[in-house]
Amino acid sequence: MTERAYTFGAGKALVGVVSQPEPSRLRAGTPGVILLNAGLVHRVGPYRLHVDLARRLAEHGFLVVRFDQSALGDSEPRQGRATYEERAVLDVGEAMDFLADKYKLSRFVPMGICSGAMNSHRAAVADARVCGAVLIDGYSYRTVPSAMRHYAPKLLSPAAIEGTLRRRLTDLRQVMRGTAPRALGSGEPASAARSRAPVSATEEQPGADAGAIFEQDWPPQATIAAELRQLADRGAEMLFVYTAAEGFNHADQFAEMFPDPVVQARAEVEYFPKADHTFTLLGDRRALIERIERWMRAHFGDK
């Protein structure tokens, strides 16, 4: 396995590192893997996950690029007025163009955590060259069973009981003092309004509009269901990995959210109930990498 650093895309504005398998392990038709930024973390990934994952996949014959989307990490901002979501699709498209040109690859598997998962989904929907995707803590919607699984244990949870009592006590104190906070004219808590405040683009701020990364509108469930069906009809394979961070609380929740049998036939789901959102612990990261490697080999590799 060897690694090389590149600049590519319009104006060579994007920076990435390619992990290339030993020539003896390269097979014709194998898709290239594209690792996308998780939030504002640069291409090495949370706790260096992308480096370890890229190297592991390269050992198994997959060519992998980890790169910084425009205005993140080492990459330059993109010219023009595209939104964060539009830029992500353009960036992934340029990464595919680069790998196609430089390494003669024609099929691709984008992967990412959180915003990286959403961007992998967007890229898959937008570009027919995508033949698979790994979405880690991507779109998640509450279902009736998941709501029951969520709320029932809280009746006995010391943290939940304590939190509820504290909140009630604080509310009561604020009401008695007349200091209950409300955003001006909105009738909603000030903290909620603040979280949507736009973040201005400055040289000191990663991501030209960093706030947009964390304030993405969750599309309606029906939209995602239709797009997943579109991908499944196209033959794209999908691995959905969830932790308990995004309102996901059981391996069956994916089937509850997206019961379409055509989607189910193309989707594998792995639930890591003990892991945190960024797979901080070494053991959790090892398990995640092994799962992705197994899935890649089963669908696109040497089995």
């Binding site: 590192v17 706790y47 990490g73 080492d74 244990p153 990663p206 308990a244 612990l281």
Partner: protein, 284 residues
Amino acid sequence: MTPYYFGDSKSPLFGCYLPPAGAAARDHGVLVCSPIAQEYVRTHWAVRQLASALSRAGFHVCRFDYSAVGDSALSTSEATVARWREDVELAAEELRDNAGVRTLSLVGLRFGAALAVGAVTRLRARDVVLWDPVVSGQRYLDELGGMHASLLKDPRRFAFSLGDEYRLRLAPLLPSLAGPTRSGSDELLGFAFPRLLRREIAALDLPRAAAAAARPPPGRTVMVLSEEREEYRELEQALRGAGHRLDVMRASTRGRWGELDEIENALLPGDVPRLVAGALGGAR
């Protein structure tokens, strides 16, 4: 900015070279030494901004990843301080060769500052800038260890089962309930810190190293500090005692290095790039 790999082809280092941009080129290179482990990840943007500011001020700049850090070769379990010291020397040599500069200065952030101090004499560096330096290796490990222990019990990060919740709550009263954690003993905030690495880090004592050094750098030593810490005063005293021409500057944004809630938040550099460029004689 040119990203590239350099050094031994079996275990290359990742670096970014920035030529002078905007201002008249100086015959002066600046090597930026980043932090390690999770601090490396959360400071990437700040280090990038610092390097860009120095480039705009006319310096040749190199920022790079040590072995087993960032995009460089080796896994985190293979990291050693001895290797990182060699990496600093290799990167400095690379910068001198690439840029053809006669003068070299070092800028280090957190653990990178500790590595920079140790390299001043060998590299014949003119100036050295220490941004929120790790002063005592043992205190650094203790701080990371404390945050790691808190992280493992953080219900905002991990979903605990009801049984786990009660066990954690009762553990202070009945230690036997604490049980084994899911974290390995060689692990701190998401990164492996094997025994050898811990031993090397624990041995790090900047005030003692400064006192024992053969001579201070010929130029200036600058401490850029974003927090008040007793150990910074100890280091300041030791550097003055060892004959360093020392300036101490205050940064506008706090590093919050000891706060668990900050470990995944990107550090914004505030006025540090401007301060450092000015301190190295680059403000124009």
